[in-house]
Symmetry: C2
Amino acid sequence: MSLPSAHQVIRFVAPVTGAVGLAQFAQATEPVREPAEGQMLVRNVLLSLDPSQRRQMMPGVEYAEPLRLGDVMIGRTMARVVDSRLPGFSPGDWVRGKFGWQEYAVSNGMHVERIALDGFAPSRYLGALGNPGITAWVGLEVIAQARAGETVVISAACGAVGGAAAAIARARGCHPVGIAGGARKCRHAVEQLGYEACVDYRAPDFVAALRAATPMGVDVDFENVGGEVFDAVLGRLNDHARIALCGLVSQYNLAEPDGLRNVAALLNHNVRLQGFRLAQYARHRAEALGELKALLRSGAYRPDETIVDGLDQAPQAFMDLFRGVNMGKMLVRIGPEA
Amino acid sequence: MSLPSAHQVIRFVAPVTGAVGLAQFAQATEPVREPAEGQMLVRNVLLSLDPSQRRQMMPGVEYAEPLRLGDVMIGRTMARVVDSRLPGFSPGDWVRGKFGWQEYAVSNGMHVERIALDGFAPSRYLGALGNPGITAWVGLEVIAQARAGETVVISAACGAVGGAAAAIARARGCHPVGIAGGARKCRHAVEQLGYEACVDYRAPDFVAALRAATPMGVDVDFENVGGEVFDAVLGRLNDHARIALCGLVSQYNLAEPDGLRNVAALLNHNVRLQGFRLAQYARHRAEALGELKALLRSGAYRPDETIVDGLDQAPQAFMDLFRGVNMGKMLVRIGPEA
C-alpha cells in the first residue's frame, strides 16, 4: 500500500509558567517515517485532551515525564494501524496509545492497546471507557469506598471524570451532588448526568448553595478542582469523610497556587484524603470497564463528548479546558474513522 | 475524714477568636461540694495542658464539646480519691479524668480511669503513658504505618507527642527527623530524644535545611503544626507518602488560618493523609501502653516534662504552649502527690 509522505505535527516549543497560550505550540508539515522491522505506522483519528497534560508542561514537574521543548505535544489517541511490521498488530486495527498531537505516528507497540470496539464508538475509549471513566470508578470504589446512602460531592461535575463518577455513584445508591461553573452546566448535570443537585461555583452564594444542597453533610469528595471549590467542600465534611483527590484543574494554570484554608476540617473530622493517579491502579481496569459498559448499555450513563474538528484546533481546545468550555470529554478529531 | 470546705477554681469567662490571653480566665474561691451517693470527691495533683483544648474555646467549634462561658476550664488531670461513695474507687486511689482547672472535683466515675502506677511517676500518665504517648503510637503504627528504613518527619519535635513519636520511630528502624523552633530545641531533639536530625523552622534557611536533612525525601509526616511548616514538608514527600495529621498548633490561635499552598504534592505523589483523634482508636490503647512502658524502662525513650507549679500559673502556661516555651509535656502541679 502507498503511505503518506508528509503530515501535520504540533510541537511544544515555549516554556510555560502561568496560563497556557497559543505561543506554546508550533504546527509544521513533517515527513512521515516508514516503520522499521518491529514497528508499525498508525493514523490518529481522535485525540484526547486532558487538563493533567498541563502539568507535564511545567519546568521541574514531578508528575510523570516532563515535556522537553521541541517534543511532539503529548496526548493519548485512538488510532488505526496503517502498516505493521510488528506481530499482533494488523492494518485496520483500532489501537489506543500516546501517539501525540500529529496525524501519523510510528510505534514499537510499547504501552499500546489493541481495542475491540465491542459495539461502542471509538470516542468512548478515550472517555467513558477510557482513563476518565476508569479513574472515576477507581476513585469512588477503591479510594473513597462510597457506600449507599452517602452524599458524594463531585467537582468539575460535567467533565469526563465527573460525569462518570455521577453515574457510578448513582448506581451505588449514593446521593451525587455536583459542582460546576454556570447555570447551564448545573442544569445539564441534573437533567442529563444523574446528579441530585448541582451548585454553581461562580454564583455569589456558592457556599450557602453548597450547604443547602448537602443537608446531611458530605461523606465523599471526589475532588477534581482544588482552590476555593475544594475549600468550600472541606467546610461540609462529615466525620470520617473520604476525599479522592483526582485533580486540581483550577490550579494548574496559576503561577502561584491558591492557599487551602480549611485544613483543620481534615483533622477535626478524622478525614482520609488520598491523592491518586490511575497508573497505580491498573489492576482494577477490567472490573471498572465491565461496569462502565453495563452502565452505558443500560442508558443509566449518558456521557457527553465535545469533539473539536481538526488537529489545528487542538491548542485552542486545550486552552478552553481550563475555562470550562467543554461538556464531558474534550476530543479533537484528527482524521476520519474509516 | 474532714473534707476541705473551699478551693480554687479557674473558669472560662470571655470568648476568644484570636490568641488566648489572661482575659479568658477568672480564678475564684468556691465551696467544695460533698459527694452524693454514687459520686466521689477527688483532689487534683497534676493538670495536663494541651494545645487541642484551644479548639474547644472557639465559638461554633466542631471539635469535641465546646466550652460555654462560665464553665470550669477543661483539662485532664491525675488526681487522688479523697472520699468515695462509688463502688470501685477508694480513698488514696490514683485516678485520671477530665477534672478541670480546679483543686477538687466531684465525679460520678464516668470516663474516669483508676491508674496503677506500675513503678512510673504519676506525671507519666499524662504524657508518655497518657494521651500524648498513645497518640504518637497510633499515628505512626496505625495511621501512617511507618516501616523500617523510612524517613519520618515529626513537627513540634520536642512536644509530648513529638518526643514519643521519635522514640517509637527509632524503635521501628525508621529515620526520625524533627522540626522545632530554635537551635536549643533542635539540639535537644538530637541529643535527648533520638532524632537523627532536627531542623529549626524559625531559621531563614528552613526550607533548604529541611531538604538537606531529608536526602531520601519524606515517607511519613507526623504533622502536629500546620501552616508553613506543613507546606515545607509537603514539598519533600515521596511517592506513596503518608501523613498522620495529628495537630495544627500553629493555626489554633489565628483568627484566619494560613493557606496551605503545596496541595498538588498530595496529588502528584499519591499521598494518603489521615486526620485522626485518639478517641477513635481506643482499641489500640493496651498495645500502645505496653510498648511505651517497655521503651521507658529500657531507657530508649527519655521524655521531657515541663511542670509549672500552682494552679494560678495555668493560664500563662497554657498561653506559653502556643509560643513553644515547653520541652515535652506541659503540666501544672495543683497539689502534692501524697
